[in-house]
Subunit: 182 residues, 2 copies
Amino acid sequence: MVKKDSSSPSPAGIIVREVGTIRNGVKKPFLEAGDDGITMRENVDAVRRRIRRTQDDISEIVINEEMTDILHGIDEYSHIIVLYWAHKVPESSRMLTQVRPMGRDEFPLMGIFSTCSPARPNPILMTVVRLHGKNKNTLSVSGLDAVDESPVIDIKPFVKNFYDKENIRIPEWMQRLCDEME
Amino acid sequence: MVKKDSSSPSPAGIIVREVGTIRNGVKKPFLEAGDDGITMRENVDAVRRRIRRTQDDISEIVINEEMTDILHGIDEYSHIIVLYWAHKVPESSRMLTQVRPMGRDEFPLMGIFSTCSPARPNPILMTVVRLHGKNKNTLSVSGLDAVDESPVIDIKPFVKNFYDKENIRIPEWMQRLCDEME
């Protein structure tokens, strides 16, 4: 049994505009979000291989043509941060408050804000990617773990200073997940 | 003259839910977004002092009470990432495509996705903060450069592995801004 949030969504939500679309060969996410939590579509080894492959696979980010100007100067960065909408997450999964990390039974239920679950109140996912090039309104990147046709919400420059923190502590279960993916 | 995007907003936008609110003593952002771009409210030295002070000042993040469960386990992290909505950015600023970095005349116009401008199509800002503690549905953090009452959209764990990139390149103007804030 997975905990849910019983509140109704705010009547006056914030409206976010789709600024572009992701194009790649990934048709399904490796984590599936449903009414009762998240589940892994494949076994741990397959997921690990898939995550590693993502590091090299190229995705295209196609920004709406009429706002091409918004990319001016972006090719001077080696890395950018992509914020995109996990459009495969059903509305019901946005009401969950706790899930098992990676949908794995051996982990206890954790609050969703302690996890990288795609099922979250606002399924905005965020990845640092390597920028290979820009051609008009299209960026080529690698390391983007998004599904084909995900709506892009924002792109930000990756500036190391902002992420260069000291004395970082993470829970043991998250360290274990990181170690598994190494 | 600052470039604008002539398209009308998508009729069917994505609706984002406010999951909490930021509480602190910051009443005005140091960058003001208007129809024609962004402007600094204070001189460079004052902004630098203010950014440094933010590193120590405590903000509270109050998550909607009925979803308190979503924070379970978060206090095992030393740092978290806060995604919040820059609610002081007027609707008209969301149509800009280019601005001068930090609103400073000595910089050329850059595409907004190359900058950290709060004026952007979706003014979702993102900061890595130090987590000092959790009390029921309230988190105490430092390093959050948000204005009082900003709506919180998401909280994610800060896991160093995801940001530990090599061979990072940033433009000269961004390096200059970073150096100034050191």
